[in-house]
Symmetry: C2
Subunit: 141 residues, 2 copies
């Protein structure tokens, strides 16, 4: 079973490969805001657990297991980002919050959040009304 930290790395790696075709240690480190030495260490663990195949100094590729997991993680991450954006969370807080919670929600909750997003997408005036509530609450304090 993957720890939250392992999921963070896998997700990042998947995204980098998806966008740039490869995932370098330094890119992963920058994205997760950790030092390169931490990345190397974690990559070795992910290799040992068969999420990827790693060759020292030469790079890595995801195994089918790693790809499948990575895609699920990335989709879930994007969903949660959209959710927080929709309800008005400040952009500066979104990445950190999503990274914190994404590993701890059941698929039931994920599905319900998906539905909630669809609810706001279908009628944009709903988001406007939400913002009105916000303004009223702010005016009270």
């Amino acid at each position: 079973m993957a720890t939250p930290s392992m999921e963070d790395y896998l997700e990042r790696i998947y995204k980098l490969i998806d966008e740039k075709g490869y995932a370098r240690v330094s890119d992963i480190a920058e994205g997760l805001e950790v030092h390169p030495s931490s990345v190397t260490k974690m990559i070795q663990k992910l290799d040992k657990d068969n999420y990827l195949i790693y060759e020292k100094y030469r790079g890595l590729i995801l195994t089918p297991k790693g790809k499948k997991m990575g895609k699920r993680l990335m989709d879930r991450h994007e969903l949660l980002e959209n959710f927080l954006t929709t309800i008005g969370v400040h952009e500066d807080n979104i990445y950190k919050d999503v990274e914190g919670i994404e590993h701890h929600l059941s698929w039931d909750s994920i599905t319900c959040i998906e539905t909630l997003l669809e609810y706001f997408r279908r009628d944009p005036s709903r988001a406007d009304e939400l913002m009105n509530v916000r303004k009223e609450l702010e005016a009270e304090n």
Copy 2:
């Protein structure tokens, strides 16, 4: 700054004192499903950080700082439970999901979720419409 684990303990302690008037090591341990020795260790840390005052073998009381924090944590927990309930998450999943995410949300996100709840409270038909979206999405699959 309190770590997630420290928050778990504080919240539990606050709730125990709120409900029973006192918080024994064994009650805390049972509630959090850890061993009593772990509780003692954490209590000492919370004492050192002035969240509570602890006397060996005799018990503990929360400082004003600890009470304030404990109340906030408990309120946050309840808010998140209400949120998941409102969007239709199955009751069996709620407690575990809230336990997982409660320590990882900025107060900005908490406020936005509070607003979202108020939005649904002000007009109950909104929740009905959300459930309609859910049914439509379920029908598609």
